[in-house]
Every structure is written in C-alpha cells, then in structure tokens.
Symmetry: C2
Subunit: 144 residues, 2 copies
DNA sequence: TATAATTCGGACAAAATTATCCTTTATTTT
DNA sequence: AAAATAAAGGATAATTTTGTCCGAATTATA
C-alpha cells in the first residue's frame, strides 16, 4: 500500500509526536532505533518531512526533531503520505490506464474509486495527535 | 496499489476473457498491443497466469490464450492479484511492523484493516466475467 | 516430414526503490 | 575561539521491479 519510505516516515512522525508530547526533542539515531528502521535512510525521510513542514528540526547539540502540540492536530496522515509518496495513492487508474475517468472508465473504475475514496477520507481525517495518543495510553505500539 | 505487473495481468486477463466470449484465442502480441503493455514482460505475466490456472494456453500455430466461459465466473480478481503479487495486499501491517495484530496493534491498525477488508471483499467478489461484459457492452474501456 | 507459428524458460539489462557513507553546515558548550 | 554534536546534502551501492532477448519445446499446416 505505502512505500517502505512512507512506512518509516509515518512511524518516525508518530514517534516524534509522542516524544514531543513529553517535551523531548529526538535525534535521528534515537528515532531509527525506536521505530526499527535503517538510520541513514530514515535521516533522508526526516529531511523530507522537515522540508514539507510536517515536523520541525533543530541543528547542533541538543538539536533534533520535534513537533508542536497544535501542529499535531493540523498534520494529517495524508500530508505525510503526500510528502513522501506524492499523489500516487490519490491519482491514476487502478489498472494503470492513462485515460481512465468517469466518461471512459476502465472495467474496475467504480469499485476502485470507492475503495480509494475511503482510503483518502481515512488519511485526511487521521491526525498525528490521534496516532500518538493511542501510543501514549499504551493502546497501540510502534516497536517491532 | 497494484504492481505494474499486476496491472498488466488484470488487463491481459480481462482482454483474454473478452475475446474468449467471442470465441477467439489470442496471442501475446495481440494482447500486448491491445492493452498497451510491453510484449516480453506481458508474456512473462501470462505465463504466471497460465501456471496458476487463471487462463489457459495452447502452443503452436493457432495457439494462444483463452479462458472458458464457466471459468470466467469462478476466476475472481483476487486470484489474479494473488497469482502475481502474492499475498502482499492481504498480509502485513500498514506501517510495516512485523508484530502488529489485534492484541498489539500499530496506531493505524484498525483503520487500515477496515480499508483492506473492503478491498479484499471487492477483489473476491469481482469476477472476470463481470469485468469483461462491461467492455463487451461498451460501458468500459481497456485501451490507453 | 519440413516449416512456420506460437508459448515456455532462462539469462541478461535498465530503471526505480531502498539503503549507506562521508562531507558540509549550523549551533551549543567548553 | 575551539571542540563537539546534530541535521543537511551529495555521491554511491545494493536490491527489487520492470523490461528485453533469444533459444528450446510444442504443434498445426503445407
């Protein structure tokens, strides 16, 4: 569904949010360690998330990644996915046809659009805060 | 969503079904031409579909690919996807965690499972015949 | 029986994705 | 000011996916 990069990106963002709720700023090394991802690759992904304003980075000693409490509400899963995978998930025909639309639909068009609309709704309505708080309360898990 | 190979595979299978409804057996060249896909790569995919009994192949002159009318009903989209992409779509955590299940769910678990269940239902309930007949009647399109 | 048409199968090539390494830049602390 | 720490960025490598090529096997037809 998501690319590996996107999976790491979501996990990383959720971890940053969780730690920011505790008032902690976290380093790439800690993030990669905690979400069980390759460090250098994760660093690249964090750069993308920083450039697209999903999280915030600070250089130098005591630096690292963080996200403000209010941003945890405005940042939706859809933004993270878009920052890393672009609009691949939203755009295009399920069967890979260039010209596929309501007027000239592929055989799977309607059924595919239905699923994708649900996915889109889900991504657009799920905030980083929502994901982080489940972890905080111990309802959900990120490691392994 | 699906891999390129899978997209080609579905389009190819639907085209074979459509032509079989007309009593025609079709060659790799014709299929690739009609569904606008790379010939040699399509040949590989047709081999997979043949091995997994989604379609039937005949060697030699007048040979080609075909599918029996009754099989168009039993062959569901899910079988094609499984033959080419394996169980990637069905199995595994949305965030790529190895251990993610109802007991120890990742933060996205429930929402992800919901979407995937819908996708699964759609794939398992959509037959090749259904896809082919839309084309036949001119309601849907495969080219381009 | 020879020829031609077709799928099958293996080896290879190109492109995209995933992943690593190392240097530079910014910033805090000593 | 120097040293140390952490992100940023560029170059490169490994792996997977996508795609090509070519010879072998099969079979209908002349």
């Amino acid at each position: 569904m998501f690319s590996k990069a996107c999976e790491y990106g979501i996990r990383a963002a959720v971890y940053v949010a969780l730690q920011s709720l505790e008032g902690r700023r976290v380093s790439v090394n800690e993030i990669a360690e905690e979400i069980d991802s390759p460090v250098a690759f994760t660093a690249k992904i964090l750069q993308q998330l920083t450039r697209s304003k999903v999280i915030h980075s600070v250089k130098g000693p005591t630096g690292g990644f963080e996200i403000e409490r209010t941003d945890m509400d405005t940042v939706k899963l859809s933004m993270i996915v878009h920052a890393i995978d672009g609009d691949n998930i939203y755009v295009g025909c399920g069967l890979g046809l260039k010209e596929c639309n309501a007027k000239k639909p592929c055989p799977l068009h309607d059924k595919f659009v239905a699923i994708r609309t649900d996915l889109k709704k889900m991504l657009e309505s799920t905030s980083l805060y929502e994901l982080a708080t489940g972890l905080e309360v111990g309802l959900t898990y990120l490691k392994r």
